[in-house]
Symmetry: C2
Subunit: 134 residues, 2 copies
């Protein structure tokens, strides 16, 4: 096992574990420009807590529905001066999220209806298609 040398000197495997992703995913993000590839003093590259923070951000942002490409832009923006662009991206995404949340709630209702009707002890097939005919 590779021994830890503090939070500022993680191997790629430790970084991956810390972000709950596979090593290959880290490399994939590096190729996409989402994480940078540190220079190496020895044969092995070392990562710090900032990398871990970025990695975790990526996963959060993904969960918020951002694409990797959008996340790449957000990461650039985080360092830059363009406040309006960041606000714009956030605003758009909030709208998309609101739409999705509403849609999911409608779907939830339809499924609830389905589960109820289907559980009502009747016989024959469940009216699956019908349960979505709003």
């Amino acid at each position: 096992m590779v021994q830890s040398q503090g939070p500022e000197s993680l191997t790629i495997g430790q970084l991956a574990a810390g972000g709950n992703v596979g090593v290959e995913t880290i490399r994939f993000y590096q190729r996409k420009g989402l994480l940078d590839t540190p220079t190496r003093e020895s044969g092995i590259r070392r990562y710090g807590s900032e990398d871990l923070r970025r990695l975790r951000f990526i996963r959060q942002a993904q969960a918020a529905g951002f694409t990797l490409e959008e996340i790449r832009e957000l990461l650039e923006l985080d360092a830059g001066e363009d406040r309006s662009r960041a606000r714009e991206l956030a605003r758009r995404r909030i709208q998309a999220l609101d739409a999705k949340i509403a849609e999911f709630n409608r779907a939830r209702d339809a499924l609830q209806r389905l589960a109820t009707e289907c559980g009502a002890g009747g016989k024959g097939p469940c009216p699956i298609l019908a349960s979505f005919d709003v």
Copy 2:
């Protein structure tokens, strides 16, 4: 222009238009077993309102987060007798939807925070990563 002959005799193009998808998408769904491929009396296949209903169901179910594979199963179930299986799928999906809705709400809050902090007229970069550090 191809003339309509009533709701029970749609061309693939009309079906596609009615379901708000492209013709190629219909064919794709046919290949995947989500829609069936009617026999043709003449050189051109004809579709009916039941096909349109299935097509619309597919889009609804997709919006509810079902994969095409799951949708295929739902469509089979709709005709069959296995009420418990359908209920099970619905139940699982409701749980997944609830989780997603909660996640999206959290993300929404983070983005709202970001937009606010970022819009507060300060100078320098927005604390994008920080806004997701819960």
